[in-house]
Amino acid sequence: MRISRSFAGVAAALLVVLAIAPAADAPASAQGKTITLSMLAGYKEDVLRANLPEFEKKTGIKIVVDAAPFGDLYKKQLLSLSTGGRYDVLFMDEPWIPPLSEFLLPLNERMKTLDTADFIPTTVASGAFQGTQYAVPVDPNVQLLVYRKDLFEQKGLKPPATWDELLADARALHDPAKQQYGIAVTASSDIQTALYMLLAMWSYGAELVDGGKGSLNSAAGKKGGEVFLELLKYTPPNVKSYNFADVNKAVQLGQAAIAIQWASGAKPMEDKTRSSVAGKLGYTQVPKAVRQTPMRGVWTVGIAKNSANQDAAWQFATWLSGREFGQAAVTFPSATSAIHSPRFSVLKDPVTKAALPYADALLASLQITKERPRLREYADIQENLRVTAGKLTAGELTLEAALKEIDAGTNRILGK
């Protein structure tokens, strides 16, 4: 009787332990909660959905994913947040954080609980605005230089470290008769054209906004613009209609010897069903002039200020930015693209390096990456840059006129 009573007690305790074990990782206030996530649709959503069951099982927190297309995600988040909406956690591109910051929960205190030493510092900065942390990094992106190792070896060339070397290499490898082009970049009215041009101008020391004013119209801006326009002599013939995907396509079809592309475009270049040059590509940092300024674009997660489930939301945000999810994401079997972790430990891991041939270049670039101006008005400034860069490459404006127009537009937006 005594034995059976003890046994019953042990069994009951065991049952209680088993019942709470799956949720042991979550604080009591987070367990059993349902979190609504505003997410980017597409391959990032696929990676997330594949890994969510593990998080839900471990924490007892249920995640409802509302995924929207890239072109509409910001508008949907803004509408929802500004009307007291339905999201607890938001997956945001870093330029969105300044305008959305008033609706986001400050995370400075909570950040102290994270092992921040494992995060690449620039990625953490992507979630901050005016000294307050509003989001944690999940998927860092940065511009890389991609080149055909086989063609460089044939010509005895080294990967270019400077813009002058890049121009020389693009010239040497440009052979339109063989449908082989020196470099793939965009020269359309697509946003990427503006960002390529800005990259070159930054490298020569120019700034889009300095001292609260538009300041591209400078000797450095002019030099960067000239180099960018010179590069266009060695591109495929139809770059005036190119966008992000077309740059990838030019590489994947083996038409471009070099490309400057965001790291998020690199994975399909290494997939044999999508790329005829898989395994033949090398990756390095973008060229430098007076400085090296690969552009940063980090996907982050923040928590809505009015969320009723802030503890559970934080639990989820930390899992998304954590090592476990990062490792699962970089090795996710997707030919389309990857979620790249913001953590040193993940990007240095041999498993990651085997999965992502560009992991070293990604890590090196992220450590020195440059952010776009952290302003609430940045979206309008970038739009002005896009329109004017398009006019420049279409030949509607001279470089001098374009630089003046960009600055005038920036100043108008900033009320200067």
């Binding site: 609504t36 994913v65 509302d66 949907k76 475009g265």
Partner: protein, 274 residues
């Protein structure tokens, strides 16, 4: 060659470029859905290729496609039924009953179609939020019925006006109620018009993107939003987008072919209505 035969031949020849212009994008999307990415981007284009089903398989496995298909079907059928029932009642009312402001009210119905949809999206969002109808079938149904209704009403007024009044009066003398007349006499005569109104209402809902994006989320998301999601930050996934687009087009094509006879008749009749 007889003049009529010559005319038919010339008409046929003239129709060829129109058909190519109309059908080529559909041909392109359909073939793209069976190509690898490399074949899709090949220059010159690959007209002959080994078809693959990978794009379909990725769409069907990576996305809960059938859940979204169900959402689209429920909402489109609901919109069709809602706009048909309300459109029939309102159209018949406008056709048969005249009151002091009937012309003005008829015009006001059309005014709702004059504002760009984009202008309406935020007010709709706020209304649905207040009513707790965000991300529900009901929320989207209310929006879509309101979009389809003006067209249905105006289309059906023309058909109902054309039904001879004598027939209706004869039925009423025989003891038929007004509703009985509508159901037993008017609707059967105006059936081609109802088919046209139904197809348009279905298409309004089936292909609508903006309101589906803003008013839905997880539970009521429809296929156009899902397809747009395949245009990622790393560029469009053309293969998967094409596969999804083909699957979205199929119900429309099947429905339109099945109702083709009524559709042509309805459009032709509608063309001469006053």
């Amino acid at each position: 060659m007889k003049p009529t035969r010559l005319r038919a031949t010339l008409t046929g020849v003239a129709l060829v470029p129109v058909l190519v212009w109309t059908l080529f994008p559909i041909y392109w999307i359909t073939t793209a859905s069976f190509k690898t990415e490399l074949a899709l981007y090949a220059k010159p284009p690959q007209w002959l290729f080994t078809p693959i089903l990978d794009n379909y398989s990725r769409v069907l496995t990576n996305i809960p496609f059938f859940q979204y298909l169900k959402n689209s079907l429920v909402i489109a059928i609901g919109t069709t039924l809602g706009s048909l029932v309300l459109g029939t009642l309102a159209g018949y009312g406008f056709a048969r009953f005249h009151f002091r402001a009937s012309e003005a009210v008829r015009f006001l119905v059309l005014v709702t179609r004059m504002a760009p949809r984009m202008v309406l999206v935020v007010p709709y969002y706020l209304m649905m939020q207040r009513l707790g109808l965000l991300d529900t079938y009901t929320g989207l149904l209310v929006a879509y019925v309101s979009f389809a209704l003006p067209f249905s009403i105006w289309l059906l007024i023309g058909f109902f006006v054309d039904v001879p009044l004598d027939v209706e009066e004869a039925a009423m003398i025989d003891g038929c109620s007004r509703l009985g007349v509508l159901l037993r006499i008017v609707i059967p005569i105006a059936a081609p018009g109802l088919v046209v109104a139904a197809i348009f209402a279905f298409l309004v809902s089936w292909n609508e993107f903006l309101f589906a994006l803003i008013l839905s989320g997880v539970e009521a998301k429809t296929l156009p939003v899902v397809i747009a999601g395949l245009n990622t930050d790393a560029g469009p996934l053309y293969g998967e987008m094409s596969a999804a687009a083909v699957m979205v087009m199929l119900p429309n094509i099947v429905m339109t072919l099945a109702l083709q006879r009524y559709l042509v008749k309805g459009l032709t009749l509608g063309a001469v209505k006053g």
